[in-house]
């Protein structure tokens, strides 16, 4: 077949033929066979060969080879059979072009942009905690989960949102399910955002508690951001790259300065803060940052965060390949078959799959994939590279985090990640606790723990839960063997803490703002005045409500006698996966209404899996009789003890601590119930719509009307021969004949 037809005979076609990419040359066959062979060998090394140690390079080969194969074959299959993109059709960036948010953006730039929006601290923390079960369960879930579930979700949500002019997930839910189903989706999203923001903030609090160095350097990001904001406002507007480089240099100075400040007496006095104080600081900061105009704090911080994100992740990838650390963590630890591990309680199924959410399947991405990115896509076929490809990148970040976490000594790992109630917060207590775990070949001495703390410039590394400090230690160990040697260890540790705190605080600001607008929009249905987002009082009230909601959960976690992050982290994963279930339920209904029933399994498979995971995990959290696992079991156990007049129970000493446990488990247990009910409502709506679609014969689609495209761009990173040729023909077309739209 010749060129695909367009309505404008004088223009070249807007879509390239896929001939060379379909042709199998001997060279291509050899390359793909080599990738398959390398991936297969790497999986064998990881899963079957049981040596003393395993080299980290196999994680890189296993993951990258699997990603490449699934990207080339599975996502292509989804594209051809289910998505059916049509490059002769204009994207919203073309037919709604306004030069502002609807801007056709080069695919490589948009990929970086989309990746910076989806990747954050999530894929860095979950895999660290999952390392408690050994490296293999986490590795399999991250890699298999992403290619079959996470990347599929991101790809499909991005594509369908793009076909709908860049509509948000909430609006799509309303279009597909009507008002009640849509409302359930929005309430669930709002609640989930509260819990996710709270737990991310808790990770920062745990990383900064009793750490004057960390507190100083992270606090310095505020004046740095203010300076950047002022520079862009008054000195050189629009010079974003330039100020980002200056900001980055200042950030490095803040890290180095933090080390000096932490050594002085006044520095220790001023910046050694307990965790409750830091939590209050973040609550106040979150409120202020969310009500101030974005140019003052939020946007400059986001520039820094983007800069750090892409730089550090690229640096870590190179470092892992250069250093190739030997891993001594076993494929499975003793905790993989039990349900009372010291890092987080619960059995492998289902809790491993909620502990690692980001990196394998992250519902939050559905909010991003239905936000800015769909408004900037040049060509429909690019959604595969952006949606599916972008998520594969995030998965690789999770693999690197896992490698960093398992490259540290296991004894130190358990000493860092066990609750203070178990370790007493002392090096002796931690050493004794690690001994009491009875793991073969795992032990740590008090001296080792003190030396580690001194090497990274901290008072102590005992019970630094939440994942961030462990990752920072792993990263510091890998990085210093590449750049700087032992004297740079403390710098790299604080560099890693800084970059995690930066992501998280950006997510906290932005999340609070987004949630505030969602709340205003929902309240506006009852009190119309709230719809006016420029009404200051309304904005402040809604911001205060959102901050109070996540702040309460945060403080609850910080003061929790049972260790906070250990009991709350499963809730984070459950919330994120439930959002994924909602997004997949919406996509399922859309696909059914397009009448592609034979391919429904592509969506139904991850949806069924994530539903089983989250419902089972929630059921465990609600009904499990094991107090470490079940919130209500714990709740009633502590209530019973209080009623019996006891003054200490389990690891909680004293009546106030016991009352706190009763209160916290009540909140956590209630949230579990609410989440799962709301999600089941949305899934119920979805199934009802699928059945309705099965019975009818009509194609129902809420897509925007088709507009012929008058521009061209290649679909993948590297253009094919036909694409290159077509591109040259388009380059010869004068600009005024290109693009259909414009407002």
């Amino acid at each position: 077949m010749a060129d695909v037809a367009t309505s404008k005979p004088e223009l070249p076609p807007a879509a390239a033929e896929e001939t060379s990419s379909k042709r199998w040359t001997p060279l291509k066959i050899i390359i793909w066979a080599a990738i398959a062979l390398l991936g297969g060998t790497a999986w064998v090394m990881l899963a079957l060969v049981r040596g003393e140690t395993v080299n980290a390079i196999w994680f890189v080969f296993a993951s990258v080879a699997t990603y490449l194969i699934f990207y080339r074959f599975y996502s292509k299959y989804i594209e051809r059979k289910l998505v059916k993109p049509d490059d002769t059709r204009a994207t919203p960036a073309e037919y709604l072009a306004n030069g502002r948010d609807y801007v056709a953006t080069d695919r490589r730039v948009l990929f970086g942009h989309h990746f910076a929006a989806i990747a954050g601290a999530g894929p860095l923390v979950g895999p660290v905690l999952a390392a408690q079960m050994g490296y293999l369960p986490g590795t399999i879930w991250i890699i298999v989960g992403v290619v079959l579930a996470g990347a599929v979700q991101d790809y499909l949500v991005l594509f369908f949102s793009m076909r709908r002019g860049g509509r948000s997930l909430g609006q799509m839910a309303k279009d597909e399910f009507g008002r009640i189903g849509g409302a359930a989706a929005i309430v669930a999203t709002l609640l989930i955002m509260v819990i996710i923001t709270a737990i991310l903030a808790l990770v920062v609090v745990n990383a900064l508690g009793e750490s004057p160095w960390g507190v100083f350097s992270v606090a310095m990001t505020i004046p740095i951001a203010l300076f950047m904001g002022a520079y862009l406002r008054w000195i050189r507007p629009g010079k974003v790259l330039e100020i980002s480089v200056i900001g980055f240099a200042l950030l490095m100075a803040a890290i180095i300065g933090g080390g000096m400040v932490a050594e002085t007496a006044w520095g220790q006095e001023l910046f050694t803060l307990d965790r409750v104080t830091i939590a209050w600081g973040i609550v106040i900061y979150g409120f202020v940052a969310a009500v101030l105009p974005v140019w003052i704090l939020l946007t400059p911080r986001d520039y820094l965060s983007t800069f750090m994100k892409i730089g550090v992740i690229a640096g870590l990838a190179v470092a892992i390949i250069v250093v190739r650390p030997e891993i001594s963590v076993p494929a499975f630890t003793e905790f993989a078959s039990g349900d009372t591990g010291p890092v987080w309680p619960g059995s492998l199924f289902p809790f491993l799959f909620v502990t690692i959410a980001c990196g394998a399947l992250s519902g939050f991405h559905a909010l991003i994939a239905s936000g800015t990115t769909p408004k900037m896509v040049e060509k429909e076929k690019q959604t595969r590279m952006l949606g599916y490809g972008g998520m594969l990148m995030e998965s690789f970040v999770a693999i690197m985090a896992l490698v960093a976490a398992i490259s540290i000594d296991q004894g130190i790992y358990y000493a860092m990640n066990s609750a203070a109630a178990n370790t007493q917060g002392t090096v002796e207590g931690a050493a004794a606790f690690v001994q009491s775990l009875g793991l073969t070949g795992v032990s740590v001495t008090p001296e080792q723990l003190s030396q580690t703390a001194a090497a990274v410039g901290e008072e102590s590394v005992v019970s630094r839960t939440g994942g961030a400090p462990t990752l920072a230690l792993g990263l510091a160990q890998i990085m210093h063997s590449w750049i700087g040697g032992p004297s740079m260890m403390a710098f790299w540790y604080h560099f890693a803490i800084m970059f995690e705190a930066l992501f998280i605080l950006t997510a906290v600001d932005a999340g609070t703002r987004v949630a505030r607008f969602m709340l205003q929009d929902s309240l506006g249905n009852v009190i119309p005045k709230f719809k006016d987002t420029s009404w200051n009082l309304g904005a402040w009230i809604c911001t205060a409500i959102m901050v109070a909601a996540w702040g309460a959960v945060l403080l609850m976690g910080v003061t929790d006698p049972l260790g906070g992050i250990n009991t709350l982290f499963p809730l984070f994963g459950i919330a994120n996966q439930l959002l994924a279930a909602i997004a997949l339920a919406i996509v399922l209904a859309i696909v059914a209404k397009r009448r592609s029933f034979k391919l429904l399994w592509i969506v139904a498979l991850p949806l069924a899996f994530v539903t089983v995971i989250t419902v089972t995990a929630s059921a465990f959290k609600v009904f499990s009789p094991v107090p470490q696992v079940g919130y209500w079991a714990n709740h009633f156990a502590f209530r019973g003890a209080l009623e019996a007049g006891e003054t200490s129970f389990g690891t909680a000493e004293g009546v106030p601590a016991m009352e706190a446990v009763v209160r916290n488990t009540f909140v956590q247990g209630s949230l579990s119930v609410i989440f799962v009910v709301l999600t089941l409502v949305v899934i119920g709506f979805s199934i009802a719509h699928v059945i309705k679609a099965l019975r009818s014969t009509e194609v129902v689609d809420h897509e925007d009307a088709r507009v012929e495209s008058r521009m061209f761009a290649p679909a993948g990173f590297l253009p094919t021969a036909e694409e290159r040729e077509l591109q040259q023909r388009w380059d010869a077309v004068p600009d005024e004949h290109k693009h259909v739209g414009g407002h």
Partner: protein
Amino acid sequence: MADVVKRAWGGFLWWARGVTGESKYQAYLDHERRVHPDREPMTERQFWRDEYARQNANPEGRCC
């Protein structure tokens, strides 16, 4: 050789400007010239004030 390095560096700068959003003003100018050649586009300073005001009213999530 120097030419290759120069081109690679130029390409990197182009990419980084796009990812950080610095090239937004240029994209706006291109759009205005193409669609509204009759009206005067905003200056860079005006554009960025307006851009941040837009972002104030349309917050964008950042993932975890």
